[in-house]
């Protein structure tokens, strides 16, 4: 997952920033920009070629997948929205001077980041399923957002801490409460720093959402599995599934980078 700053800023100055979302192309980065083009155009061309010249089974597979794509998007979008909300409060908790709030937020981040997402999914669906019956789709969304909320929390914390202390002091000395200062002064400025890593998380979440196929959620990957199991066309099916994931993540990366340019993110 994308780590944007180090825990201990004073000790480590060099931050190796390797996001695990698809590389988001920026205009200055000529090599990546062309790599993006090659893979995007290539993937679309291969899918089109296979579907047109090899309709059986490729066109059949392609027709079977859209329901899954829809579910993948539903899980991703619901989870990212929840994760943003959780992340905001976690980030605020992590910078809070209130020891209890700070403790809860820090504990949450430590625990969640220490457990693999797949295990969390199993845990919420199967282990908690013995106590309360949570539908598969809901537990998928809860698990994804609880997991990503922890990472979002760290992004929000770093973003808020990147705004100079004087801004908060100026707002407070005008009589604003800390909540008003946060809302009107700090967060609107922090959003510029926060947006790129959130974009990364969004793409990463979309890819990780394929894990929910182990629950009874018919996402893109599970639809592929269903098709493959019925037709025994494993190679063909998973080729298509992989290509569709690739096209979606590349497309989203591009969309996010356009959005960032609009907002004027300074990198």
């Amino acid at each position: 997952m994308a780590e944007i700053t180090d825990e201990d800023k004073t000790k480590q100055k060099i931050v190796i920033d390797v996001g695990d979302g698809a590389a988001i192309p920026s205009k200055e980065d000529v090599g990546l920009f062309t790599a993006w083009r090659v893979s995007f155009v290539g993937a679309v061309a291969i899918v089109a070629y296979l579907a047109i010249f090899n309709p059986d089974p490729y066109w059949e597979i392609l027709k079977f997948l859209p329901d899954g794509i829809l579910v993948t998007f539903q899980v991703t979008i619901a989870a990212i929205i929840l994760a943003l909300v959780i992340g905001l409060f976690t980030g605020l908790g992590r910078i809070s001077k209130n020891r209890i709030l700070n403790g809860i937020a820090s504990l949450y981040v430590e625990i969640i980041r220490g457990i693999p997402l797949l295990v969390q999914l199993f845990y919420i669906y199967f282990a908690l399923g013995r106590i309360v019956n949570v539908p598969a789709m809901a537990s998928a969304i809860i698990a994804m957002s609880v997991c990503y909320g922890a990472y979002m929390g760290e992004i929000f914390r770093a973003g808020i801490e990147s705004i100079s202390k004087g801004q908060m002091e100026a707002a407070r000395s005008l009589g604003m409460t800390s909540a008003q200062a946060m809302r009107h002064v700090i967060l609107p400025q922090a959003i510029k720093t926060i947006l790129p890593p959130i974009g990364n998380e969004f793409v990463a979440l979309l890819k990780d959402s394929s894990l929910v196929s182990i629950l009874a959620v018919s996402d893109l990957l599970r639809r592929g599995r269903e098709f493959a199991a019925a037709s025994f066309n494993y190679f063909e099916t998973y080729t298509m599934v992989a290509l569709v994931y690739l096209i979606i993540t590349l497309f989203l990366s591009k969309l996010i980078s356009i959005m960032e340019n609009r907002v004027g993110v300074d990198k």
Binding site: S164, E169, A170, V185
Partner: protein
Amino acid sequence: MVEMRDVYKYFGQLKALDNVSLDVHDGEKMVLIGPSGSGKSTLLRSINQLEKIDHGHIVVDGIDISDPETNINKVREEIGMVFQSFNVFPHKTVLENVNLAQVVVRKRSKKEASEISRELLNKVGIIEKVNEYPEKLSGGQQQRVAIARALAMKPKIMLFDEPTSALDPEMIGEVLDVMIKLAKEGITMIVVTHEMGFAREVADSVIFMDYGAIIEEGTPEHFFKNPIQERTKIFLNQIL
């Protein structure tokens, strides 16, 4: 207007404020001078509780701000503060900078706030920049926006924390002019500054601090003609 009694403030082992007591009367202009690290900024920042004191009492406009029951936000509404580093809000235009707290804190309508803002921006001589963002402004212009922003709350007292120290020399004058204009209108002011010309012209009283303590206080004439304390003499000799 401001009353400080037996105030102590520590930063770890360091005594930032050492048994400070002072009175600022209604309408008084007080200038704080002293070497860097002498505690003058800490003293100023403790008046609106940007720094919490460890011991003693501070009463502002009849309200004891060292009392934990006091709603500090209410007190801060009455205290305008101007910082060395301006701290204008970079994501808001000049007009929005001055409007924000009026709307959020004073609950004025946007229209009412804008009228007050324009009047003040006119007063600080920056009305033609209302719709610019701060990054397009010089330091002196940003500081004048910050002054207008503080004045828009109609404060009873204004605190200035080295308002010209971060400015290029040619911009110091424009900010001091605004401050002198304000002083003549009779608002209570406490100013931390190295501008002795300003102190001479505007101050009713001058306080010299060193090592967190008040070493000497008096009128500007007293200070510049015959200071008593040895440390005051040395300091004034260095900067005049």
